[in-house]
Symmetry: C2
Subunit: 265 residues, 2 copies
Amino acid sequence: MAHTDIATPATADAAGVKSARRAVELLEAFGANHAWLSLTDLHHHTGIPRSSLHGLLRTLRDVGWIESDEPGTRFRLGVRALICGTAYLDRDPVMPYATDALERLRDQVGYTCHYARLNGPDIVYLQTRESRTSAHLVSRVGRTLPAHATALGKVLLAELADDELTAVLPKNLAALTELTITDRDELRSELAFIRERGYSTERGESSADKACVAAVVPYRIPGTDAMSCSMPGDRVTDAELQKVGSLLRDVAADLSQQLRRAGIR
Amino acid sequence: MAHTDIATPATADAAGVKSARRAVELLEAFGANHAWLSLTDLHHHTGIPRSSLHGLLRTLRDVGWIESDEPGTRFRLGVRALICGTAYLDRDPVMPYATDALERLRDQVGYTCHYARLNGPDIVYLQTRESRTSAHLVSRVGRTLPAHATALGKVLLAELADDELTAVLPKNLAALTELTITDRDELRSELAFIRERGYSTERGESSADKACVAAVVPYRIPGTDAMSCSMPGDRVTDAELQKVGSLLRDVAADLSQQLRRAGIR
DNA sequence: CAACGCCATTCACATATATGAACGAAAACA
DNA sequence: TGTTTTCGTTCATATATGTGAATGGCGTTG
């Protein structure tokens, strides 16, 4: 059952247009569940009464943001959500510059390169250029990963002040592999080290047999965006990691200079 | 006002939950406009009263689907729209197979390859694998182009029956270049030819100096998905175009067999 | 410097939505 | 096959939202 507090007008959290909030809540439920969802499934996910869901779902389906099967009782995300959501990339003036920088970087190092942004405790991949030789692309535009478990995330977390870090980190640092840093103190000292050096590295912390290097793109303070190179973890030496790290730092510094010159913040 | 029937003239489908419909309408307005939008801008775009917009915008901002500047009077699309929208790709069981096929194709032909889906009169790019040597990627996941102006679109339009085609085509066939087919009869005969041959080609119809070949992935009837190769238009012969065309048809047929075997429709 | 126009915001009432309960159809179970 | 449960759908009313007009801040114009 949904608990709606009666007579609490002042709480900013519960404020807003209920159906609009619910529409978005539903879209996110669909984003998080890659199967057909029935009305009752959604009721369990969101706590919204089935009778209310009925109207909302038909509305969202009519505008093409969700699709239903022929009986009209199962639903899933529709193409319009993709079309509109990816427009985020077009509206962002950073992207053309970032893409160029990414291609230059990839052509120099030969590895798969990413551009990502911090969003709360997660990083969001915004753009990728794959290695000229790689087997398979692991990531995807729009995918999120826990910041503490990735080179990209760690270098961005290192931008935060101590209290900001505390505010942003989840209660439990989820382990993606056995090597993921799950201890807050360990993470803090890792971040201090990263801050010192100007780039972050990672071996098997986000995914086994993968190594990553990342550097912040310092066009904002604190930095929100970073670039990374992803490499085969078992075939890459520490020396190589560090060589790529300083190159990365240079390319990122270059990019941010371009951005600042273009007046982009 | 007591008149209920007469009072709902302009809005085509007035049914559904109004605020949910409007929330989505706003998101689409943000998707189509890559600048900061003020409340009044949005009023002009959508016709929604400013006072109503006020509440809706704050709600959408609070859930992170749009962002505002510090005064809180300008808005644009937020990251959550990207994160959720791109989940469309994960929920689609076709994608892993399509990606594999795309990589195989790219490695065989060496050109940039796309996987796309028909959505009304447009195609939507779902996945891309770039040429090992190409300079720059023109397309992007989630981007749409008019179907009649692209090889991908034409081969998918060729799947439709005559009345379906009539229903789906826009009134005016927009010209992306001077070579875009803008005449309906010309388009129809082109589609007949494509149907015959099993793949479509295009030279400079969507973009100057670009040539494309596309084939339907026949795992549904009518087909909704297609694969294409995009090549430098000035450096590619007709013979090459046709060679790639039949290879493409084979790869697409292969993929659809995999999909059918996996029970995906 | 004053008046104007533009715009976000607020308010009170009219309209739209939310929802618990009820219903019937279809699965699941026995 | 009979019974029970589950699920989507509908309805009437309580609640939330929509909206035109009014407000006041702010930058611009005369």
